[in-house]
Symmetry: C2
Subunit: 232 residues, 2 copies
DNA sequence: TCATCTGCTTGATAAATGTCAATCGTTAAC
DNA sequence: GTTAACGATTGACATTTATCAAGCAGATGA
């Protein structure tokens, strides 16, 4: 583990408050690796030997069943993934692959569990992080079960707009076919959904999205903090 | 809080390992209440003042948006709910109502957070519980995104069968219209799905389900431990 | 016993979504 | 510069799912 990567990791909520000694102990057994794009880092069902941290690049978490595949989440720097599997010492529920050239830190799961037991600050941080993850997935479930694909897309655009600073124009941060998978629909359906949103003042050219009638789109999308607010 | 309720609560994984002193401290501010059926205990969006424990009866967790409603989970004795909201001191993401006459224990959220910080065993238990909850929701998301409603129903039946002891016949533990909502479909669609499963040897009379050709149903349902196994 | 209620089922129809195949447009390699 | 590759789009069509309305059946209560 190169010294230069430590500050990034230390800066994560998860490791921010813990003692220096315990942090060093965690890092001792860890290492950092660079991966090219489209490399499968973990496969669902595998034992969870490492807690992963994306230092740069991005990682897609996805799941498969019966020949179908769906995108579950995108992990961007700097954050961890598969924390729950690490804590429970249970198999991964999702696979993970790099989307681009990425730098990943790997911390042995058993070290995470060991330090958890002796560092109350670290324990507190893990609980907060897990609770956050849990609530995100619950919101996602509500999005899937309560909304049509057109409504999901509208609210995704509003969230993305907010995240990009709130301006009338912004870029989609992922390929459309991956967006379709994230939203639980086919690329063809997404393409038609974009077209349908034209009547609410949404114009899409490539990855660029322009919202000309904010109020109108919001009236249709009906965003709710209990589904769309990532922070709480 | 009556003395007679303490053993049930103490027996929960969550409270099993913690010190007697801290357990008593938690219980001191808590109380127990009996509710009739169909009473709304919590409403999504409310601040999370109490961690709830179902001592008897059952509670449905559900969510609403734009006039629609969906059933998220059923909580049966003896277990807790809305742990994540309590930990994060964030608003509830789901509403909860009693399905039948129920006995509920209420523990002030701030006490839970306070004891968490001073009792490592309790902290460990909370993390394990949260990780479990998180993984359950992830599995549910996979179920929703990767399977058709007929496949979801089939796998639900296989899970329920296993849970009921594995025999060829068992009872549905909930109303069909609620089951439909849990599976993310309409009651009409569920009714037709049951009929479609007749060709795989599933017979339903009232709440009674009989599976005459186990292998055939499994061949269709393709259950996967990474979606359908609740224990891991 | 009868009436009523409620949940379940059924049929007809509509809407949403997926599939398949072809085409377009951009990118990237040669 | 040309060509190949790939993602996005479009059209035609099939499937899945929802909606609406009506009927049915077991439970409840007078």
């Amino acid at each position: 583990m190169p010294e230069s990567d430590l500050p990034d990791i230390r800066g994560l909520h998860l490791f921010e408050e813990m003692s220096d000694e315990h942090f060093r102990a965690l890092m001792r057994g860890s290492y950092v690796q660079n991966f090219p794009p489209q490399i499968e880092l973990i496969e669902e069902g595998d034992p969870s030997d490492f807690l992963h941290i994306v230092l740069s690049g991005s990682v897609e978490l996805f799941s498969s069943w019966n020949g179908r595949e769906t995108s579950m989440a995108t992990v961007r720097p700097v954050s961890t993934f598969i924390l729950a599997a690490t804590i429970k010492d249970a198999p991964y529920l999702m696979s993970g692959r790099t989307l681009e050239k990425s730098r990943i830190a790997l911390i042995p799961s058993q070290d995470v569990r060991a330090v958890f037991d002796i560092d109350a600050k670290f324990a507190r941080a893990i609980v907060t992080e897990l609770a956050q993850c849990y609530r995100s997935v619950v919101k996602n479930t509500k999005d899937l079960k309560l909304r049509t694909s057109l409504e999901r897309l509208s609210n995704f655009l509003l969230r993305q707009q907010k995240y990009s600073g709130g301006g009338a124009e912004f870029d989609l941060p992922l390929e459309k076919r991956r967006l379709a998978s994230v939203l639980g629909m086919t690329p063809e359906n997404l393409s038609r959904a974009f077209k349908a949103l034209q009547s609410y003042g949404v114009k899409v050219t490539g990855n660029r999205v322009a919202i000309s009638d904010q109020k109108d789109l919001e009236r249709f999308a009906k965003p709710s903090p209990l589904i769309d607010d990532y922070s709480t």
